[in-house]
């Protein structure tokens, strides 16, 4: 695969490590009354779709950016790439 890094351009998959589903950005509120359940779901449960999926990738052999990579798990095509930090910030703004 090739990942089109938003800052550095197309990079071979060998430069990256991958963590998993991008939902890991959305850490639950630890003060919520059902925090235990929310954290169980957050840490363990996955949609695991056959098709379009958003995933967290780390440019370990590069600039150490965390990226949100949207790709198709059936074809391995990469559809879009964003800096995870931007995604996380946007999430905060929409939640706020």
């Amino acid at each position: 695969m090739m990942i089109d890094h938003p800052v550095l351009g197309p990079r071979d998959v060998r430069e990256f490590t991958v963590l998993g589903d991008a939902s890991l950005i959305d850490r639950p509120d630890p003060t919520s009354p059902d925090a235990a359940k929310l954290f169980h779901d957050y840490v363990h449960l996955r949609d695991n779709p056959a098709g379009i999926k958003r995933e967290l990738w780390f440019h370990e052999g590069g600039d150490r950016s965390w990226l949100v990579v949207t790709r198709d798990t059936l074809s391995h095509r990469v559809l879009s790439v964003a800096l995870a930090r931007d995604v996380a910030r946007r999430n905060r703004e929409t939640q706020a």
Partner: protein, 438 residues
């Protein structure tokens, strides 16, 4: 504990009734058929039309599903059972793996289960009258550092406590048995290895066919080319499946579809602690006997054995990204070769003949799930990661036990769905809830 289970497990089957023109295989039969041009061998299993309902519908005609059907029929007398398979039976991971069986686990949540499985393997041929070529040639896990040795010793002691056996081999023993291993000149010299003599290999396709034939002979319907398109859910209870050949009702629906677990369970709105990944495996051209046992490398993931036909069968890491594409990346394949050659430089001249990518359910702790779900009537078996093949007999045995009795079998009692909520995880390598690291 495991020994008791296995001795009853490998004892007499409860049902010996056979339907149709079931033939007992033997050397005599081969001789007879050979003289008459091999023209009257019967079908190994029927090709029935689905009935409108069954006591139990097993979703997935892979090794585990067929093993479950066999054990339901022959140990619990439950034969009003259907195995529903989207394509052809045995077309998934049981037909595509590195054929290794072993019981060399560390944790009490796993080891007795795999030891039961190994004992069931040891009696498989006699149990199903089908030669799956169980070959107990042993497995050696190489260690390269003192820390690794300590971890293997701890594991070996767990194995011995479970009755599985296990030995520590020093360098001299390794050099004597496996002269092709580079003990010294590679980047990571070998200091010793964990040896389980009872581990081995099995002709994988034969496992699916043998269990199918056995289940079919007892009256289980194996429905090939029948795709499950949804669950019949009434009043919060699962009452059957919708299929490409119409609805099939069932008292209990048992999902057993490694690789597609999330997709299938999603039809019942159940999210799983599972991610799908591809695992590449490789087989070389056939060569004369080269490797007498299974060997795994300690610095980098690599395992290898040799098939009866002479092909060297090996694999390595899963693809770190999740995928349903049944193929892996070239970089992963290259890394597998690098580790292989670090272990046995002579492999450089062996040629890779086939390479395939199977879909594996990577669970959040690297261990499987055999459990009821939150929905009445719906049962789940999955999350086998890349190690499901060796579990085939015990997985079917324990799943059948659960389906027949609604209680977990002792050796599978830790393999629950709620262990992630309680924290009673079975994390063999301590990598936590990161499925691609297991």
């Amino acid at each position: 504990m495991a020994q008791t289970d296995a001795s009853s497990a490998t004892g007499a089957l409860t049902s010996k009734e056979h339907v149709g023109d079931h033939m007992r295989y033997s050397a005599w039969e081969i001789f007879k058929q050979g003289l008459t041009g091999n023209k009257s061998w019967p079908r190994m299993w029927r090709d029935p039309e689905p009935k409108s309902g069954y006591d139990i519908v097993i979703v997935g005609g892979g090794g585990h599903g067929l093993s479950t059907a066999h054990h339901l029929a022959h140990r619990h007398g439950l034969t009003n059972v259907a195995v529903v398979e989207k394509g052809w039976i045995g077309g998934g991971n049981v037909g595509r793996n590195t054929t290794m069986i072993r019981s060399n686990y560390l944790l009490a949540g796993n080891q007795p289960f795999y030891e039961l499985s190994l004992q069931l393997w040891e009696n498989l041929e006699q149990e199903i009258n089908y030669n799956a070529m169980v070959s107990q040639r042993g497995i050696l896990n190489l260690a390269h550092t003192d820390a690794q040795r300590d971890a293997y010793i701890r594991r070996g002691n767990s194995m011995r406590l479970s009755g599985a056996g296990g030995e520590w081999w020093d360098r001299k023993q390794i050099a004597k048995h496996l002269p092709m291993i580079d003990l010294d000149t590679s980047r990571f010299p070998v200091i010793g290895g964990l040896w389980q003599p009872r581990a081995g290999t099995v002709r994988h396709d034969a496992v699916a066919w043998g269990y199918a034939r056995s289940a079919d002979s007892a009256g289980v319907d194996i429905l090939q080319n029948t795709e499950v398109t949804g669950f019949i859910i009434e009043g919060g209870k699962c009452c059957g499946v919708m299929t490409s050949k119409g609805p099939i009702r069932a008292e209990k629906v048992a999902v057993c579809v490694a690789g597609s677990s999330s997709r299938v369970m999603n039809m019942a709105d159940i999210r799983l602690p599972i991610e799908s990944h591809a695992l590449q495996a490789f087989v070389t051209e056939g060569v004369k006997p080269f490797l007498p046992c299974i060997v795994t490398y300690g610095t980098g993931h690599f395992y290898i054995c040799q098939s009866d036909k002479g092909g060297l069968v090996f694999g390595g890491d899963i693809e770190a990204f999740s995928t349903y594409a049944q193929r892996g990346d070239l970089s992963t394949a290259e890394h597998v070769m690098e580790v292989g050659l670090a272990m046995m430089p002579a492999l450089a001249r062996a040629r890779v003949l086939r390479n395939w990518g199977g879909l594996v359910d990577m669970s959040m702790d690297g261990s499987p799930i055999i459990d009821r779900t939150e929905m009445e009537g719906l049962y789940f078996n999955g999350g086998w990661c890349y190690g499901g093949f060796k579990a085939t007999p015990a997985s079917g045995y324990c799943y059948a036990h659960l389906l027949a009795t609604d209680t977990s079998h002792d050796v599978a009692s830790a393999m629950t769905l709620d262990r992630f909520a309680t924290g009673a995880v079975i994390d063999e390598n301590g990598r936590g809830a990161t499925p691609n690291l297991h």
